[in-house]
Symmetry: C2
Subunit: 209 residues, 2 copies
DNA sequence: GCCAGACTAGACTGTCCAGTATGATGACGT
DNA sequence: ACGTCATCATACTGGACAGTCTAGTCTGGC
């Protein structure tokens, strides 16, 4: 993201990070147009000029922030995921889905999603990247997971298609509610577990031979 | 929305409608903050003052536009819906879902959805209304439809829960793709039909006794 | 003919804000 | 001691834009 280039870039990382943090908050809170650079400067305890030295423009800062957040979120979701051994498939799918859903419905990620969706017109690339690093990546990993299960006869169907159904069975209701009804509409732990259990049941009813 | 009030309101409906049309286009295109009132005035072939006479402020105009669009969209979805007689349940569910999905994925509605989601922070009420008139209303009608089916032994489960699962089985994948990947990501007719058929199959596998 | 009310073009006010310019401070290496 | 480089505070420029104001036009009813 930062210009590949000529400069030896020993710029103070501390300030850089402070700007990133402040910009993240402000952009998530007020959107792209609603955000003002003076506020980011003062919130990060840095002069406006410094903001412009580190990031060349409001647009560049926005792209950098959103890009890095999507990357980080994607990585978190797919980090430290347990392996499926010979254990109970249903239980494993539940654990997997609960974990995934909990991360995706964190307020910060919900706000990122809203921000990006609202800016599809202005920044279509960002939305594409978010889709690829979010849902698409999850679906790809599920596909890889389902492939051997199909071969072992535990699932019946096209792995990629099953992955997509599974993903949205788990995510759709909570995510879409949260998008519109606000962060407070995210299910509490009990409900989340019940929701996931039922999603997994439906999935297996449709795809277990 | 317009002030309940004193005035006999015989204002030229033609201009009013022209403003509404122009405002709809511009807001959907550029978002709330990105929209400028001079443009709306010129696009509707009306003077700026007239815009302010008909709608008191940018905010009021926005709320009016979005509110009426959500209402209209909701009404369209639930208008002229065929009844389920004694025919084939699976075929009926497919027809129902195809119809619903086609309407919801129209570009104008997708853009409305993006707009509203992006403005959740500034206008939380609008998003709530969109949720109620959109997904919630669909779910309620499905609930009413499933209730007797359950009593006839054709479905097994809580009608409201089944309605929510059915709704998102049908909507989630296309809608979420379209939100982020743009209007061009909406499935063509063939794909849409295949998608719906499979969604219905999954639903019945999970909920038909 | 005249009044009222809707409308018009366009100027104007006040504010906000991205981005730049200026001139100074302090740290660090040579 | 000196240059360099990041940083600072603050002022400024230029443009955008919500909302108001002015002064005048057009139309239909009486």
């Amino acid at each position: 993201m930062a210009e590949a280039g000529a400069r030896p870039w020993a710029r103070s990382d501390e300030k850089h990070q402070a700007i990133v943090r402040a910009a993240r908050e402000v952009f998530l809170d007020k959107g792209y147009l609603g955000t003002n650079m003076d506020l980011i400067a003062s919130r990060s305890g840095v002069s406006k000029q410094t903001v412009y030295t580190h990031f060349g423009s409001k647009e560049a800062l926005f792209v950098e922030i959103v890009g890095s957040m999507t990357g980080a979120a994607g990585d978190r979701v797919h980090h430290d995921r347990p392996e499926l051994g010979d254990g109970d498939l249903e239980a494993y799918l539940r654990a997997f889905a609960e974990r995934q859903l909990r991360i995706v419905t964190e307020p910060e990620l919900l706000r990122l999603r809203r921000l990006v969706i609202g800016e599809v017109g202005r920044f279509p690339e960002l939305a594409k990247v978010l889709y690829e690093r979010g849902p698409q990546r999850a679906i790809d990993e599920l596909t890889a997971m389902f492939e051997p299960l199909r071969e072992r006869g535990l699932l019946a169907g096209d792995p990629a298609a099953m992955a997509e159904w599974f993903n949205w069975l788990v995510m759709a209701a909570p995510l879409n509610r949260a998008m519109m009804l606000g962060d407070a509409a995210v299910p509490a732990d009990d409900d989340l577990r019940r929701h996931v259990a039922e999603a997994v049941r439906i999935f297996l009813a449709a795809f277990a031979p």
